[in-house]
Symmetry: C2
Subunit: 247 residues, 2 copies
DNA sequence: TAGCAATAGTTGTATATACAACTATTGCAT
DNA sequence: ATGCAATAGTTGTATATACAACTATTGCTA
C-alpha cells in the first residue's frame, strides 16, 4: 500500500479510477521512489493541469487531499512542498497531544489539533532545515518582548499548537506563558525557543549576523506590523539575518 | 470554541470570513443547540445554495469539511446526516487504533485509518439506531457464509476498520478471521457480530421476521451480486426484514 | 400484490472561468 | 547599493455548468 493510502480495491471500484487519484498516485510514487525529497517543490496546480490534461480544480483536489494527509505542505504564493517524513509518521506526537487534549476535556477538538500540529511542526521544521537545503521557505514571524504580549502572524495563530484557552485571548499571553503551555504538547520546544532568541537562531542556522555577506539577494517584504525574520541566501549557501526587519 | 473548531481569531483574519465558514458555523450552531439531533438530515447542497445565496460548490465545501471532521456523514443519493456524538468525541477509540497500527509498524496510515474508522463506526451506528429514529438510513450489506470468504460492499471495504494485511486480499478472509482482527480495534464488535448473524439482527432491531407486516413500503434494490439486508418501514414504526434479499 | 419503468432528488466528479491574496522576481530610478 | 514599482507566479475563494452514479419515490401494468 502506498503512503497515500490508496488501496488497489479502491481503484477497481468501477474499473475507472477518478482522475485526481491518478495524480495522487503519481505524486506519491515520486515521493516514495525518492525522486522528490523532503521540501521538494512539487509541480504547481497549473503545471499538473497541463501534464495530466485536467482542470485546475482537479489537480488542486489531489494536492489538497495529500496536504490533509500530511504528505504535502502548501504555502500561498510560494508553492506546494513535500512534507518531512517525520511529520508523516509522527504518530507518537499525535498520541501525546491527544493525551493532553483529553485531560483538558476538549475531546472533540483532538482530531483538528492533530492535523494542525502536524502542519505547524512541518513549517517550523522546514524553516530550521534551511541550512541543509537550497530552498528558501519563508518564514517564521514573531513580535516578541519579554513580559509583553506575543504577536504571531495570523496563520501561525491559526495553526499553532496552542491550547484553546490561550487562543481565546492570545494578546494577553507572555512568552513565558506561551512556552510553558506549548512545551508539553510538542517536541519542537527547543526549536521554538531558538527562534524566540535571535542569537540562538543565528547559531542554529549558521548565520553570521555581525558581518555582512559579500553578496546578498535583495528581498522586499510586505510589512504587517510584525517583526519579520528574514533569511537571505548568499553565495556559497551561506545565510545571514536580513537587514529588512520591519515593524 | 464551537465543535467546528473555528476560532474567533480565524474569522477576523481579514475582517471578511470565507462564505463556507459561515455555512459551517450555521450548521454547527444548529447541532450544538440541539435543534439538529443525531442522524438529522441536514439541508442538501442545493438547499444550502439557495439559503445562503452561494454556489453549490461553496455549500458542498462546508458539508465536506464537516464530514472530514466527523461531524456529518454523507451518503450518495440519500443525503447528509448529523453524525453521532459518540464518534465526534471518540478519542479513546482513536488512541486504541493508534496503538494497534503503531505496533504493526504502519505509522503513516494511522491518520487515515482514524478518519475512516470514525466514518464506518458512524454508518454502523446509524444503522443500528434505526429503531429509535424515523430516518431510514441504508444499508449494511454483507455476503456471508461460514468458513467462506466474506464479500463486503465496496464502500465498506474501503472504509472498514480492517488492518492493512486484511485489505490486501480481503477475499481470502473468513468471518472468524475478520472478527478476530477487527475485535481489538473497535467498540462496535458486538454490533458487527449481530449483523453477521441474522437472528440477532432481528432481535436487535425489534424485527419480526416470521410474520409479515400488514403493510410494507415497497422498495427496489440495485442488485450488486451481494446480499442486501433490507430494512423496511411499516406503519407504527415497526420494522421487518425485507423479502428482497437479492444475490 | 408484485414487478417494472419513469421520474425526481442527492451526492460525486469534472471543466471553465474569474478574481483575491500573497509571494517571488525583475527592472528602473535614485 | 537602496528603494520602489511593475510583473509574473502560486495558492485561496467563488461562481456557473454539466454529467455520472446512486437513491428514493411514484405511478403504471399485469
Amino acid at each position: 500500500m502506498s503512503i497515500s493510502g490508496l488501496s488497489t480495491t479502491e481503484l477497481s471500484k468501477n474499473e475507472k479510477p477518478a482522475k485526481y487519484t491518478l495524480i495522487k498516485q503519481h505524486i506519491c510514487q515520486n515521493i516514495e521512489s525518492g525522486k522528490w525529497p523532503q521540501h521538494f517543490k512539487v509541480p504547481s496546480e497549473n503545471e499538473l493541469t497541463q501534464q495530466f490534461d485536467v482542470s485546475r480544480m482537479t489537480a488542486r483536489r489531489a494536492l489538497q487531499e495529500l496536504t490533509e494527509q500530511g504528505i504535502l505542505v502548501r504555502a500561498q504564493g510560494s508553492g506546494t512542498f513535500v512534507a518531512t517524513f517525520k511529520s508523516q509518521s509522527s504518530l507518537l506526537e499525535i498520541r501525546n497531544i491527544s493525551d493532553e487534549i483529553h485531560e483538558r476535556g476538549h475531546r472533540h477538538h483532538a482530531k483538528q489539533l492533530m492535523l494542525k500540529s502536524i502542519a505547524v511542526t512541518e513549517e517550523i521544521t522546514i524553516l530550521l532545515n534551511l541550512k541543509n537545503n537550497e530552498h528558501v521557505f519563508l518564514s517564521q514571524i514573531l513580535h516578541f518582548e519579554d513580559d509583553k504580549p506575543i504577536q504571531l502572524e495570523q496563520r501561525y495563530v491559526n495553526a499553532a499548537l496552542v491550547p484553546e484557552y490561550l487562543l481565546q485571548d492570545f494578546t494577553t499571553t507572555t512568552p513565558h506563558e506561551y512556552l510553558s503551555a506549548v512545551a508539553p504538547l510538542t517536541e519542537a520546544t527547543h526549536e521554538i525557543e531558538a527562534i524566540l532568541a535571535d542569537n540562538e537562531v543565528c547559531q542554529l542556522l549558521d548565520i553570521d549576523n555581525s558581518e555582512p555577506c559579500l553578496q546578498v539577494k535583495r528581498r522586499t517584504w510586505s510589512s504587517k506590523g510584525v517583526v519579520s525574520l528574514a533569511i537571505l541566501t548568499a553565495p556559497g549557501n551561506k545565510y545571514r539575518l536580513g537587514s529588512h526587519l520591519v515593524f
